[in-house]
Amino acid sequence: MSIKYAILAILAERDMHGYELKSNFDDKVGEFWSLNFGQIYSTLDRMEKEELVTHGRETQERRPDRKIFSITAQGRQELNEWLTTPVNKVRALRDEFFIKLVFMDKRDPGPLLDLITKQKALYLKQMSKLTQQKMALKKGADNPDALTSELLIDAGLFHTEADIKWLTLCEAKIRAAGNQPEKK
C-alpha cells in the first residue's frame, strides 16, 4: 500500500496545497501513520506524471507562489477502484520485536522470557491509552470523523490484544521447550 491512495482520497474532498494535505492526513490517520513533507511532495510528483493529480498556482503576497493540487478524473477512477477492492495482503510481520525474537538465545530462555513479560506490560499500557482515547472520543462532540477514529482505535486494540495473546503463547512454548529432558 502506498500513500498515493490516502492523498487521492483527501484531494477527492477538495483541492489543497501540500501543507494542508499533510495536516489533513495527520488529522485523519496520523495516530497510526506518520509522513514527512518530503514523502508527500515526492509522491505528488510521481502522481502528476501518472496523471492522477494536476496542480495550479496560487499567488501569495511577499511569498513565492504555491501549488494547489487537484485530483483528475483518472485519479478519481483509480481511487474508487482501490476503495472498493478488499485488501489481499495480511498484515506484515515485521515488528521490531520479531527480529529480537530471532536473535535471542533460545537455549537460555531467562532473558527472553523477561523481555516477553516487559513487552506484554508495554502493550497493556498502550491498550490502556487507546481505551482512554476512545472514551474521550465518545464523550466529545459529534463529528463525522469520530466514528472513523473510533474504528481505527478499535483496530489498534484488537491487534495489540492479538500480540499479547501471541506473546503468552510464546511464553508457554518456550517454557515447555525448556522443560523437555533432552534439552536439559
Binding site: 502493550y123 497493556l124 491498550m127 490502556s128 482512554q132 486494540l157
Partner: protein, 229 residues
Amino acid sequence: MIELKKAGRMYRQGNREVYALRDVSLLIKSGEFLSIMGPSGSGKSTLLNLMGGLDQPSSGEVFMDGKPLHGISDYELTLIRRRRVGFIFQFFNLLPLLTAEENVGLPLLLDGLPFTEVQPKAAALLRQVGLGERREHRPEQLSGGEMQRVAIARALITEPAVILADEPTGNLDSHTSEEIFLLLRNLNEQGQTIVMVTHDSKAAAYGSRVMTLKDGAIAEDMMIAEPAS
C-alpha cells in the same frame, strides 16, 4: 479496602491436596479498577470468591474494610456478601420469574426491606444503566447485554464497597461487551471499586491495574493507568 495476607485455598481430592491459591498477599485500594488475568485453572475465580466471601481461605487472612472475612460464621459472611459486595457473573444469574425491577431490588428485599421502599431505588438504577423502559420485562424478554445491565444494577443497589465481576462479558459480542465495560468504567470514575476477572486484555485496558495469576500465585501486578477516581 480489600486485603489478603498470605491467603491460600487448598482442596482435598481423596488423599491429594490441590492448591487453587497459594500464599497470595495483596491490597486493593478504594477507587481502584483491578483486572485479574491468567490461564484457566490459575486461581482467578478462587481469588475473586475469597474477596467476596463466597469462599473462605484454608490458610491466611482476608479483610474487607479492616474486618476479617475468614473465621466468621456462615451467617455473618452471608450478610457481608449481601450488603457490601456486588457480584456480576458471566451468565448474569437473574431469576427468570422476576421482572428486571424485582431482580434489581432482590438484595434489599432479602434483607427485609418493603418493596415500596425498594422499587424507586431499583427503577432509578435501571434508568442509570439505560433500561428505564424495561422495568417490567422478565429476563427472557431481554437481550444478553440488557440482562447484564440488570445484573449490574442489582450489584449496585446495596451501594457495595466493591463490585466483583467474573468474566462479565464472556457471553456477549464485542460491541455489547464494550458497552458493558464503558458502564463499569463510568461507575469506577464515580468512585466505585471494581475487581474483574477476565481473559480479555481489551477488557483489562479499561482498568487501572492488571494482575496476572499463574498456578495459584501472583505472577505479575502492574499499574497501567492512574486510577480514574
